[in-house]
Amino acid sequence: MIRAAVALAAALLAGFIAFPIAGLIFHQSPAAFVVALQAPSAQAALRLSLLTTLCSLALTVGLGTPLAYILARRVFPGRALVDALVDLPIVVPPAVAGLALLLAFGRAGTLGPALHALGINLSFTTAAVVLAQTFVASPFFVRAARSGFATVDQTLEAASATLGMGPLRTFALVTIPLAAPALTGGIVLCWARALGEFGATIMFAGNLSGVSQTLPLAVYLDLEGGDVAGATALSVVLIAVSLAVVAGIRSVERR
């Protein structure tokens, strides 16, 4: 009796998730799907999403790796605070994140005049999209990397040192490979979050095809404008990518 109830509950939830997605995928014919994807605005959104997420990923990994390493290995005053700060963007609603970015880096924001003096204007630019994505998505990587670095056996790093490898080579040849599963998982999650980012992007970077209209924004705008075919096609692309991401994480975890 209990087993039947458990199975029913499981089936309900699985069905709840599967049905809307299946409905979306089967909503239009493959031919209509291809046609919708060839629209210039769809192409622009795809290209922009690819470009911006790769940039934000590079920024995150580049700056986040040293940060994660320090958080994992060094004890310093204020470490708990930095730890909490790093995790904060995960719980902050995206629109709030967007507003915060605007108030900090916008033209009239705290750093606005300083940036302007340097000739930098972030408002309504693709750079702003990258920053918004980095803000909301980097915690996913830093958390995973921090955890990965913390679990690497430091005796192995000591052995590497005694064998003659300097700190950087030890990091590259021992630490990174051993933390690789965690790092990979973090990269994948971070990228997926950046790809789906909407609220902070539209707040901070605005919405303009080819400049700031990423895939999620394009879906919303298409729908708003009554172009259900376009919205559906782009949604299917996003779902396909998300499925690939999830499959990717699972296979990395299994290793």
Binding site: L156, A158, A161, T162, L163, G164, G166, L178
Partner: protein, 217 residues
């Protein structure tokens, strides 16, 4: 050819004081758990700094009041207690690691690795992952990895304690044979009295955190 250790370091419950002159060949350092045996080796390797004192190898000051040579520049060969083999590399890659650090060319690395693996009779394991090896095999890989770089001093941290009692005796004899050919100052640190008997010659004993000189058995 000698290793001079004259250091002091505050440990958790006592002060470690070492005054040793280690000549070429094996010197066994005996002491109970917690005495500071591993710390001693880590100090020589440069993984730790003492509170005071110096460490001089072949006339070159590695650790001193105004000097500290980083561990990767010390040319020491160390065998860790749990062997610290790199799990993501094969046996051959593990053994070649120190040669890679010294930027020895790939062909040359292959030659030297093959030679030392043969000498330690583990050449058939070259392609194996380290995770599937027995305790005795892992010990030999760790030893090969430390020997192939031709270090100026060899540090062995309880090399037999990770083995089960049956294997220990056999491996001890093998170790004796291998170390007979080693001509650099070698510190063999252990808590096992049986090891002391296996390497007659030089023995240093920990007493209340202090180990100094050598005592002939």
């Amino acid at each position: 050819m000698s290793l001079i250790i004259d250091v002091r370091k505050q440990l958790r419950e006592h002060v470690l004081e070492v005054a040793l002159e280690v000549p070429a060949g094996v010197t066994v350092v005996v002491g109970p758990s917690g005495a500071g045996k591993t710390t001693l080796l880590r100090l020589v390797a440069g993984l730790l700094r003492p509170d005071a004192g110096e460490i001089v190898l072949d006339g070159r000051t590695l650790t001193g009041p105004t000097t500290f040579v980083a561990p990767h520049l010390r040319n020491v060969g160390m065998v860790f207690q749990e062997y610290a083999l790199f799990p993501h590399l094969s046996v051959a890659a593990n053994v070649a690691f120190g040669l890679r650090a010294r930027r020895i060319s790939a062909p040359e690395r292959t030659l030297r690795v093959a030679s030392v693996l043969e000498r330690l009779e583990i050449d058939q394991l070259a392609r194996e992952r380290t995770g599937e090896l027995s305790g005795g095999q892992r010990q030999r890989v760790a030893l090969a990895r430390a020997l192939v770089i031709e270090p100026e001093t060899l540090l062995l941290d309880e090399p037999l304690s990770a083995l089960d009692p049956q294997t220990r005796g056999r491996v001890r004899s093998e170790l004796q044979a291998i170390l007979r050919d080693v001509s650099v100052p070698t510190l063999f640190v252990t808590h096992d009295e049986a090891d002391r008997a296996a390497f007659p010659g030089r023995v240093a004993v920990f007493e209340d955190g202090r180990v100094s000189g050598t005592v002939r058995t």
